[in-house]
Subunit: 273 residues, 3 copies
């Protein structure tokens, strides 16, 4: 069932507007191209409303936010909302500073978001309305494990319900829920955490999936998470002696480039709770 | 004949000042190094005039323009003009928003450009003085094919003549003309469109070729287009099972790194119209 | 002895705050992850003090400075100083423009720096308080060779003593000194100069080494220089026919990813003067 969502992207080639950080932006662009979408980056207030209007989805990532780009996030988000486009928020580092936390909360407040995709520490911060995280990575104390799974599912469902959008919380186990149904996903590899921006890449690709599958956003979001994790597995299987995180980054994007519906269908490992 | 132009770059190591987008900037820097040039990036109004003064060429790319960097583009361009340096404009996304279209037109108006390098949709926008494009990629309706080639050559020649500079319009078939002579180039592979920034990379490399071959700018620009396309062919021939667009990106830059005059001479596929 | 410093990074996973250029930032993030650290990028004045407070080290790189980020460099630096964090300055292009030279001098003046890491032309500029460099690469006239080694060691020692910090001057031969002891390091390969950002990467990684080994900063800085050079040698040994600078960039980061204390210990080639 999830396999069709990558096919949708390849068939419809959605344009994705990204207001994202300058650290991982090149990989975000290449993974959107790899999955069949078309990326465009624009972060100037005067430019973003027109650019988002010609796109099908908007990916907002606060990883290297500044006063100017926060304005653009709000302006683009409102225009995308008016047009009924898919809007995703990646609250990078929410909890690590007041500016990040408050910006994410403001975006949640002023925009109709379709998905919030982050790690568990960021989402806990947003649930509390404040908080601390260890930089841009999830705090170990927060990690979703088999032991804490049931309570984590309950927490993320409650967050999604309260936020009024899909929550996609990624880590060793990924949870994607609209508040009712929760995909518990076990694709991926721990080594993906040693590459900068696998989360940012997922957010960009997920926006393409959402834009291409707007009638079934929960499934589209879950399919993107499975695709990313599966690409991590396929990419890892192609690693040779001496290859490290720089090469692994390329192999993951390469795996998305070659992923078809059948590969995703067979490789997706999830249960529904 | 075109082979000498890459040799010129390797022999003179021109410094290229880039005011370019943050999406593909790393690849632009690496391909300039690969072809024998030396890149420097600076986009602050207070900094750009001095930086451009120590360079031999200026590459202006509006891919992620903002109010501050547009000022820098104008200031650097004027200084480069005063010094007689090669100046190239890559009007990324002209037609997709008024800011992009108007900025490109303003740069054409206020600067003496040596080359405008873009896709056919962007160049049509600039020819009209307004327009719409599908994001940052060429619109299918605009594509230069064997069927539309003659009228496309006429159009691009007329544009170059009116703009008073060389036009380098890249796509499935590439056209490089000063308004009189038109190089029709058939190097390259369609898969290059699945990598972000092959156009930006070409603009950066072309500026190095122009700076190193200022007496024959048309030939230098055409040589850069042939080199990029040929690198796409060589890079593709080195792809292994499972390799995708991330790896292909590296292989193209690697192919430029190893390209010598003889390889370019033998591999360049063009006719003159 | 130097091998332990990479082990320190892997054991303590220091968070490194980077205010760095957008050209090479992705590679900086990936090499910090590769050596065992955790990178975070933030360059907005309102954000940087809180972000730097949760980190263990601050890497300031002026490669694409602007008025806003210069403010952030000063604010973050002062906060990092208050907290006793390691602070490194990479004065990219000092000497190429007044803004760059003056910003580097201002940062030296207003901050307590632990290390200044640059090429010999940049450091000569800072020693003079003014100067010219050929873009962002060292001027040939300045190069440290076996013939000029003794006078270069004297010069860099005097600079470090006057600046009151460690100076790490990298090139064909690298010099790392606190003004008394000078590590003369002969790791590395000339082809590393054909990749954009190997210096920036070293600065990011060195900050992780400093944060993880604050009691022995000179040795930590020297270990980072040896590690980078050794990674260049290991990466080069894995190059295959047709590989160029794009692939080499990945192989160097990959080599850091796999480097352990023993490999660094055995591979480090240095003498003390």
């Amino acid at each position: 069932m999830l396999g069709t969502y990558i096919e949708n992207v390849r068939n419809t080639v959605p344009l994705v507007h990204n207001i994202t950080n300058y650290v991982t932006v090149n990989d975000v662009a290449n993974i959107i191209l790899a999955c069949g979408g078309s990326p465009i980056m624009s972060d100037e207030p005067e430019d973003v409303e027109e650019i988002t209007a010609i796109c099908g989805g908007l990916n907002i990532n606060i990883g290297t936010l500044n006063a100017r780009t926060v304005k653009s996030m709000l302006a683009a988000g409102k225009r995308a909302n008016e047009l009924g486009h898919a809007v995703l928020l990646d609250p990078v580092g929410a909890g690590a500073s007041r500016l990040r936390t408050n910006t994410a909360l403001k975006l949640m407040d002023e925009l109709k978001l379709d998905v919030i995709r982050g790690n568990i520490s960021e989402v806990k911060t947003l649930a509390r309305g404040s908080g601390t995280t260890k930089g841009v990575d999830a705090d170990v104390a927060d990690t979703v494990t088999e032991e804490t799974l049931d309570s984590a599912v309950d927490f993320v469902k409650a967050f999604a319900k309260k936020a009024g959008c899909i929550a996609a919380v990624t880590g060793a186990i990924d949870l994607v829920t609209d508040g009712e149904t929760c995909f518990v996903i076990r694709n991926g590899r721990p080594e993906m955490g040693r590459i900068t921006g696998t989360g940012c890449q997922l957010s960009g690709m997920m926006t393409a999936f959402l834009a291409a599958g707007p009638e079934h956003k929960l499934e589209a979001a879950a399919a993107a998470v499975c695709a990313m994790g599966l690409a991590g597995e396929i990419g890892w299987s192609r690693m040779q002696e001496g290859d490290g995180n720089a090469t692994y980054r390329n192999r993951i994007i390469d795996a998305i480039y070659h992923m078809d519906a059948e590969t995703l269908e067979r490789g997706a490992r999830y249960e529904i709770k």
